[in-house]
């Protein structure tokens, strides 16, 4: 982690309300290029909402958010910046969200062709290369429903990477997978981290978090309760909430 670099994500005093519920409370967060940040916390703590704010899938009500030099305004009033941000920020979802009516190849080539304006040939070459990288180059012409969950999630990863993002968001990428398929997805993410991709990951895989994260952020009731290196957070948690959360999740 190189802290002198200017951040690719800068959140300042970010607040999100959902009716009377205060989902995110005065969040301050800088993420620098190349950094791998893992966000942990109990379900309902606001960790998914936090990363969904970064690419504008959730609106916030006050505070400021800059992503790669583009400023997102509160209450979704920045459609142009939003469009730019979304082409530069990739996302992998818990439920994969592959397009079921398109083949694996077409899932991956759609956005590069329609958004970046690539030719079909360029887009398909990139897609093939990415499929090889995530270990499923032989599945290009299948449809998502013909693949296992682990394969689908790797296609989803390849689909996001095809846009050549500067930042990748992962929203519980292994939570919907059968246990025997979690490893193959984490392996692909591990590779990506090694190559220097900036990543923000919401996960319950604590072993993985300890291994790949430069920084762990613990969210409690919409606030960043504690953050630090994996060693600091897992071995010597300072906050009582962190201690009780870790005691619960690490018991298994």
């Amino acid at each position: 982690m190189t802290s002198h670099q200017s951040p690719i994500v800068r959140m300042q005093q970010l607040n999100k309300h959902f009716g009377s519920l205060h989902v995110l409370n005065n969040i301050d967060l800088d993420i620098v290029p190349g950094e791998v940040v893992v966000v942990i916390g109990a379900s309902g703590s606001g960790k998914s909402t936090l990363i969904r704010c970064i690419n504008g899938l959730e609106e916030f009500q006050s505070g400021s958010l800059d992503v790669d030099g583009n400023t997102l305004l509160p209450n979704g009033k920045s459609s142009k910046a939003l469009q730019t941000i979304r082409t530069e920020v990739g996302m992998v979802f818990q439920q994969f969200n592959l397009f079921p009516h398109l083949s694996v190849l077409d899932n991956i080539t759609l956005a590069p062709m329609k958004v970046r304006g690539w030719s079909r040939q360029d887009a398909e070459e990139t897609a093939q290369r990415l499929l090889e990288r995530v270990g499923i180059s032989d599945q290009a012409n299948k449809y998502p429903s013909q693949l296992s969950g682990g394969q689908q999630q790797r296609v989803a990863l390849a689909r996001a990477l095809a846009m050549e993002p500067r930042l990748m968001l992962f929203d519980e990428p292994t939570s919907a997978l059968d246990p025997e398929m979690i490893g193959e997805v984490l392996d692909a993410m591990r590779e990506l981290a090694k190559e220097g991709m900036t990543m923000v990951i919401v996960t319950h895989e604590m072993g993985f978090a300890r291994e790949v994260a430069d920084r762990i952020i613990f969210i409690h009731k919409g606030e960043i309760a504690e953050q630090g290196t994996p060693e600091q957070l897992f071995d010597t948690p300072q906050h009582e909430r962190t201690q009780s959360f870790l005691a619960r999740v690490l018991k298994h």
């Binding site: 690419n55 504008g56 899938l57 469009q83 979304r86 082409t87 920020v89 990739g90 996302m91 979802f93 439920q95 969200n97 592959l98 397009f99 079921p100 009516h101 083949s103 759609l110 956005a111 329609k114 958004v115 970046r116 449809y143 429903s145 989803a156 689909r159 996001a160 846009m163 968001l169």
Partner: protein, 223 residues
């Protein structure tokens, strides 16, 4: 019951040459009306789910009016009522097609709305997260999937509209029922002729069912 009554097969078969010319008219009104109704349905169905409130209410009014009034009244209004307004008569065929169009359009707009709204939110989110605009997300991701889900209810509506055209005998279109009525007026063989008329409707709707089953199977193969 008249125990001596005998179903006269020769009368039934004898009516066929008189009934067959009605079939093209039945098909023309049905499919002509449905084709227009499909576009009306897409138009109002998409208005109905627009994020802009004042765009939604015309769609709500349209659906309520044309779904909430009988198609017989609609065709009578078009054929007898509108000419008084326009000052010139309307061709019965045109009136029939128009009635199927506006009526099926109301139901189809609900089918379109339901189809689009049935697509999981994650599909839109994944599209937007890839940088697709809202229009692109709709065109390349949401709509193709919605269209596939709309096939069974659209088939249903097609069958209903085909049968609805039988009502248009009242405005004198020489469709199936009208042809039967004309024939019965001279032969007094109502049982046999209406039996054959029913069989012919069944042949049309059953064929459509079979075709739709194939379309559905092919459409779902990719999923």
């Amino acid at each position: 019951m008249d125990v001596n009554f005998q179903f006269d097969w020769s009368a039934a078969f004898g009516s066929i040459p008189y009934l067959l010319p009605g079939i093209p008219w039945t098909l023309l009104i049905s499919f002509g009306g449905l084709a227009i109704g499909f576009f009306i349905g897409i138009f109002f169905g998409l208005l109905r789910i627009s994020p802009v409130r004042w765009l939604r209410w015309p769609a709500v009014v349209y659906v309520e009016v044309f779904r909430g009034t009988p198609i017989l009244v609609q065709v009578l209004f078009i054929f007898y009522g509108l000419p008084q307004l326009l000052g010139s008569p309307i061709n019965a065929l045109v009136a029939g097609i128009a009635a199927i169009a506006v009526n099926s359009g109301a139901y189809i707009s609900e089918i379109v709305r339901g189809g689009v709204q049935s697509i999981e939110r994650g599909q839109r989110e994944a599209s937007l997260s890839l940088g697709l605009s809202r229009v692109q997300a709709f065109r390349y991701v949401i709509w193709p999937q919605a269209l596939r889900r709309m096939i069974p209810p659209l088939g249903n509506q097609g069958i209903i509209s085909i049968k609805d055209t039988s009502l248009f005998s009242v405005i004198g279109v020489s469709e199936l029922v009208r042809q039967g009525q004309i024939y019965i007026a001279t032969t007094f063989t109502a049982l046999e002729v209406y039996f054959m008329v029913a069989l012919m409707y069944l042949a049309i709707t059953w064929t459509l069912s079979l075709v739709l089953r194939q379309v559905e199977r092919r459409g779902l193969a990719g999923q």
